[in-house]
Structures are given as structure tokens and as C-alpha cells.
């Protein structure tokens, strides 16, 4: 079983990071120039290496926070230790899969 404190700390840290990264993400998408309105805008946006790094970081943080959040909700329902192991594994798989999918999307757009 994961340490309760560590899980909580990671949830809090990813949340804190997200406040900044999400702010950046929304700002860039909607308020920089006219926002990312066309496909070419998206390509130009992601071609900046710093932006790309931040967006990948954002992707990782959001998925991590969401997975931990869903796990917390399920834990609150009162599940057995075995169910918890299965749940955590399943959620990890989903999270990693979505992350890889996101990275693949970045790659497709940029090439």
C-alpha cells in the first residue's frame, strides 16, 4: 500500500503545478494573439521547444492529478486492499496510456 502521506503530497504538488501550467495553457490557447484557431497555429505554437516541454509537463501533471483524484474518490467508497491494488494498477495503465497517446499526438502534429 502506498504511504498515505506521499500520495497526498504528490496530489497536492501536481495540483499546485497545474495551477500555473493550466493557467499558461489557457492563456496561450485563448488569449495570446487570437488564440490557436487553425491547425497551422497549433503547429507554430508547439514548434517552440520551451512550449513543447511545458505542454508535455502539463499533460503528465494533469493525468497524474486526475488518476490520483479518481483513486481518492474510489477509496472513499471503502474498498478492500485487494480492490485497491487492482484499482491503482488499472488507473496507472489508463494514465500512462493517455500520456503516450498525448505524446504521440504532439509528434504527429510536428512531423
Amino acid at each position: 500500500m502506498t504511504s498515505g502521506k506521499n500520495t497526498w503530497v504528490w496530489q497536492a504538488l501536481s495540483g499546485l503545478l497545474l495551477v500555473f501550467l493550466l493557467g499558461l495553457h489557457l492563456f496561450a490557447n485563448h488569449f495570446m494573439a487570437d488564440g490557436l484557431l487553425t491547425y497551422d497555429d497549433v503547429v507554430a505554437y508547439l514548434s517552440n521547444p520551451l512550449i513543447l516541454v511545458l505542454e508535455v509537463l502539463f499533460l503528465a501533471a494533469v493525468l497524474y492529478h486526475a488518476v490520483l483524484g479518481v483513486r481518492a474518490i474510489m477509496l472513499d467508497r471503502g474498498i478492500s486492499a485487494q480492490q485497491e491494488r487492482t484499482l491503482t494498477r488499472a488507473l496507472t495503465v489508463v494514465g500512462v496510456a493517455l500520456f503516450l497517446y498525448g505524446v504521440w499526438l504532439f509528434w504527429v502534429i510536428l512531423t
Binding site: 500500500m1 504511504s3 498515505g4 502521506k5 500520495t7 477509496l75 472513499d76 471503502g78
Partner: protein, 237 residues
Amino acid sequence: MAEVTFKIYRYKPGAIDPPRYDTFKLDVEAHETVLDILERLRLDDPTLTYRHSCHHGSCGTCGMMVNGKEVLACVTRVLDLGTETVVVEPLRHLPLVSDLVVDMTPFFEKYEPIGMPYLRESEYLPEGQPPPEVGTYMRFESCLECGLCLSACPVVGTDPAYLGPAALAAAARVVQEPRGQDVARVLQMVDTEQGCWRCHSAMECSEVCPNDVDPGGMIMYLRRELLTGKTLSGGKR
């Protein structure tokens, strides 16, 4: 003096099952509490079951839900509630024995492993005096073990393994003022996924606590102590 309608939750396994609400209309005086009303109703219906003891808010026995909120019935004046209808129900999240009586066993099952911190050296002995560097501390003895906090906590409602506000407040008390208790052991018990990290800070427990134990605040205190690397080996701050 006013006329008030009371809807009292009734349940008796095998007899009043499924539960129902019995309705009574009574003239109520300004000083009468919910417990006074229950005593009056019982004269007509001796099967009405509830717990009571001190009648002045210091034993924690008469905890129940009145108009959807956890209170001690003996200090809740009916007319102060300000409603024409008063709904009286048992505490939530605890097994229901009969009518307004709940089984407090789960409460104590979470509470006792902390180590019954209220049993300790007399505060009149020199060894029992808190060290001078302890500036302020909460009297844990404030806890009446009434169970209102467990009834109000949304996590206790769905997760039976969660230690709960009362036990965690007791643990915080041990950490603040060990008086011979093993702080490391207690901290280990609360530093778990079902301990102080399960809390979602709804603070409903502190909201309903009749004696200012502030379990929510105590849980946050425990978190801070654990986050700032509170040593597991000493009781010093």
C-alpha cells in the same frame, strides 16, 4: 409557548421495519429542549427509545439529528430552532439499534487503539505538568465521545476503514501533550491512507462538535506535523 409538529424516526428490527416517522403535535414552552419533548412523548408511547444521561451537555449520550443537523438533544431548545416542524432522527454512519439509539461500537473501535489518552497521570502531579515550552494546547478532555463528528463526516459515511475525526483528534492530543504516551506509535497510526490523509477538509466535524474539540483543525495540525518532518521519537514540538 407555541405549537410544534414533531416527526420522530421510528425503527425496531423486525417490528417497525422498514422505518417510519411518527408525527406528534405538542405545545412547547420556550425552555423545553428536544430531549424534554422525547421524555414527554415517551409517557404516551413507552416504546420510544433514546439515550440520555446528564441532561446538560457534558456526557455526550443524547447525540441525534434534529432538522438534519447533528446536535445534543438535551441542550437544543425546540423554539430556538425556529421551524414549525421538527424532524428528529438518529445519528448517521453508525449501526441503528432502535429508534434514536445507535450502536457506538464502531466509534470506540476507532478510538481505543489511539490509547485512551484521557487516562493518564494526574495533572496535579509534577510529572503531569506540561513542559514550559508548550505554549497553548487544547484540552482533549473536551471530547464527549458523542459521535456527532462521525455522523457529520462525509468520508466516514462511505469508508468504514477511515479512522475518523474523533480518533484523529485524540491522536493530535497525544502528540501535543504525550504525558507518558508513545507518540511515535500514535503518529504511525495516523500517517496512513486511512488516517489523517483520508480527510477532505469538509470541516463538518468541527461544525457540529458541541465542545470545541475542532477535530478538523486537529487533523490539519497532524498533517502539518507530519509534513514538517515531525520526529517519530519524541514528544517535543
